[in-house]
Subunit: 162 residues, 2 copies
């Protein structure tokens, strides 16, 4: 298994695209996420991805162990770099148009174990350890709790039928 | 487990949006996929989905049993209806702008066991049995055979390192 770089505990993702985190030795690391400051590692990471016309790529998040698909979200280049730096999932929220460190409010962070890319580079698969086992903002383990029932011709909400 | 409707063997997906399939009793069934011909079941199925501005929804395809994520593709309304009718995955190919019955050329069809939808309706998760265990057009089991290696700062192609 190939692990990603981890920086310790996240303090903040600054709106000016400063990535601020507390390293394992308790020193504070601040990194500028701007395009002008990318190193060759960043280039290798980013260039393999086929970004869409909005500069985004869809990301499937799957739990290691259970292999449950937890959610689907989007990343831009900064989100992918931040994910690599932090070792925790950072997405781009299209509705709020900002970086979104998953769990920053709920505490339900996702520790990244693998970053995978598909054959044509236009989808990322993140393998994560899901803190508290809750990925969905509804409080569910996975966001995919609606299942189509052909017999009843309706979507069954498994979150309510537990 | 909730099974989807199956029509038997697919003969063709006609460009005029006629879905033609050979039923289990060897009768040929032809269905028009146009919007004017949707029944209430179709409405229930389609209305829960949040279609994007192109009328598409991303679809994650996961193998039952192994729970491997095989691929990500897109569906429009017709593709989702066709998938339900056939019991096999039918996507919308954005590059070729047409319905794409997965495996129509390669034979690597996907028998649909579950159709799932996420909390905000904007992503579908298909649980499938993958014919021959090959989902990727490259001949790989899964399309996600590239893995990021932070130590070497490169994407490792697992399809070549087998």
């Amino acid at each position: 298994m190939v692990s990603v770089h981890e920086c310790g505990r996240v303090i903040a993702l600054d709106p000016r695209r400063l990535l601020i985190c507390l390293a394992l030795n308790n020193s504070v690391k601040i990194e500028q996420m701007s395009d002008t400051n990318k190193n060759s590692q960043d280039q290798s990471l980013l260039e393999a991805v086929t970004w869409n016309e909005q500069g985004l790529v869809p990301v499937i998040t799957q739990e290691v162990g259970s292999k449950d698909v937890l959610m689907m979200a989007w990343m831009n280049r900064d989100a992918l770099l931040a994910t690599l730096r932090l070792g925790e999932a950072v997405y781009w929220t299209r509705s709020r148009q900002k970086l979104w460190h998953k769990g920053e409010e709920s505490g339900h962070t996702q520790k990244v174990k693998e970053i995978r890319l598909d054959c044509d580079g236009d989808t990322i698969l993140l393998m994560v350890e899901q803190k508290d086992g809750i990925a969905c903002h509804t409080g569910e383990h996975s966001c995919f709790f609606l299942q189509w029932d052909s017999n009843q011709s309706t979507w069954i909400d498994e979150s309510k039928s537990k």
